[in-house]
């Protein structure tokens, strides 16, 4: 089939399919004499796998490292290893999400719990102090701490090495 049909069958755009080829992720492609790409029905499966893996939190680089050229011949060890690590990543993120959610809920309550006799400015200071309490602790500790406190100070997202970043320098 040509690229348009593959796009339709896989639900991806043609630009995305060409992009995957360019970065070496989709190698199952041939060329007709006129230069048109041709795909077998395997390509649909591969694209399905790619988007499924993406949904599960794998980057395209990770997927490329795991996807074999022959779909019937996987690297079992690497695969289950990567899957297990991804589960751990997810669990770590779940923990952080729970903490963030709890902090937000506490904050919402705290804002609404302004004592009748307190003016807004004072309330703001009170809430502000509470919000920054944990962070400031971190800071004062960090300032002459040797082991970094695991970098929880970054946006919430499921990135490959989200936990243990080794700054090679």
């Amino acid at each position: 089939m040509r690229i348009g049909e593959l796009a339709q069958k896989s639900g991806l755009t043609t630009s995305r399919i060409r992009f995957y080829e360019r970065i070496g992720l989709l190698k199952a492609v041939d060329r007709r004499l006129n230069g048109y790409r041709t795909y077998s029905s395997q390509a649909v499966t591969i694209l399905g796998l790619i988007t499924t893996a993406q949904r599960a939190g794998f980057t395209l680089d990770e997927i490329r490292a795991l996807l074999p050229s022959d779909l019937t011949h996987w690297d079992h060890a690497a695969l289950t290893g990567a899957l297990t690590r991804k589960v751990a990543d997810i669990e770590a993120l779940q923990v952080r999400l729970g903490q963030s959610k709890a902090q937000l809920l506490r904050l919402i309550e705290d804002i609404q719990a302004r004592p009748e006799d307190m003016d807004c400015a004072a309330n703001a200071r009170r809430v502000l102090t509470n919000v920054l309490a944990k962070h400031t602790e971190d800071l004062t500790v960090t300032s002459d701490d040797v082991r970094l406190p695991d970098r929880t100070d970054r946006p919430l997202s499921l990135k490959p090495g989200a936990g243990r970043k080794v700054v090679s320098r």
Copy 2:
């Protein structure tokens, strides 16, 4: 204080502080006659708030929209609204994380549950079919469905509008 001291006190880099100023996020800055930036101790608080909000999943744009120029004068309604929406975003992501994790665990089990009498190729096909089952359903349904199935087909991350994307076109 000058920028270096603020960087040290806030734990951010000077480039990051200048960047925040450039994008209009940190307005609490004055200039000496020599061109050097000067900050009050409020700036430390503001930077602390910014990184705390970032950790909780707010983008810099969102933070800019919520941060008042006067820390004692917040927009209560906008703030609690944003906080509540962020909690909802987190809950949505928690659900997706749970699903992804469950799928990965199922997949790991499935890979290891290869029947003794089945060769690797056949096992690969079996597992592959299972993995893609849900996705293929989605696809066949989507093809002539009116309401989009809520775009769960994208990487896991906590982005502002992660749930309900309105394509204005």
